[in-house]
């Protein structure tokens, strides 16, 4: 019984972690595209820290760091940190 429960918990954990990794990768791509759309350099987003709803701090592989957020007017703002 305990073995069965642990197996089910492991399965659930693996499934959820796979989905979370895919979601993080999608966020990184979205942030990279957004930074590039604003004309700022970023070859690849390596870390993305979510500060709040529609508010991220992205670190690029080339060392640049950006604050990407949506302001009150609904505009996407990319600020170099």
């Amino acid at each position: 019984m305990a073995l069965r429960i642990s197996a089910l918990m492991l399965t659930t954990t693996l499934l959820l972690s796979g989905a979370a990794l895919a979601d993080d990768s999608a966020v990184g791509k979205d942030l990279k595209a957004t930074i590039a759309l604003q004309g700022m350099p970023c070859d690849q987003v390596v870390t993305a820290k979510q500060n709040g709803d529609s508010d991220y701090t992205a670190a690029c592989k080339d060392g640049n760091r950006y604050h990407v957020f949506v302001n009150a007017q609904g505009r996407v703002i990319v600020q170099k940190l």
Binding site: A7, D30, L37
Partner: protein, 231 residues
Amino acid sequence: MCRLAIAGFLVVFSVSGCSAMKGSDAGAARETHPSLPPAPPSDTAPDREPVPAMAPVAAAPRPSTLPVSSAPSSNPAKPKPPTVARAAPAARPRVAQPKSPKPSVPPPQPTPPPASSPATSSTSAASTPPRSLPTLNLHDLEQRLRETRAIGVFAKLSLKNQVDDLLSAFRELYRVPNKRPPAELRQRYDLLLLKVLSLLQDSDPPLATAIASSKEAIWSILADPDKFSKI
């Protein structure tokens, strides 16, 4: 015992699924530290992964630092049907596709011999106008850009901001009668379309093709004050 085997199978299945999803991303954990040497495959990997439409905005705030990478995933973008199939039948006439092997319309001949059909097809192909790809109207374009998963939420919103800025520039221009758009606005339009195409060309090639073929048609609407006022 059978349930134990099923649970074991589920574990193996999920592990294989996760490894397929992140298969080429062996250095994802290392990428959280920019000082570490990057993994070579992820440097040249193209961005082919579709982005979930509402993922970043709908997600709950997570204060932790998340590792991200650009490795391709196992769920590529679903190819969308061509727009001519979704457009209203009376909206625009269908035009012949250039890559269809069949000749479009042979010239009227009483009894065409079979041996001369390649020659007639080549002449008809040469006489067809170069504008043969289907074009999108503005509503189709907006709808398909909203629906595509090739662009993330942030990027879509950023693109929308830039489109709104361009439209505002046109509105400002057309406040004065008999004004024609300057070359600067055409450059902004071209640049914006290039941005859209660069975002779409890997993950949603049908939409990228449709937008590229609609470039001049959309500009003709923007550059005409009468057509622009009806948008």
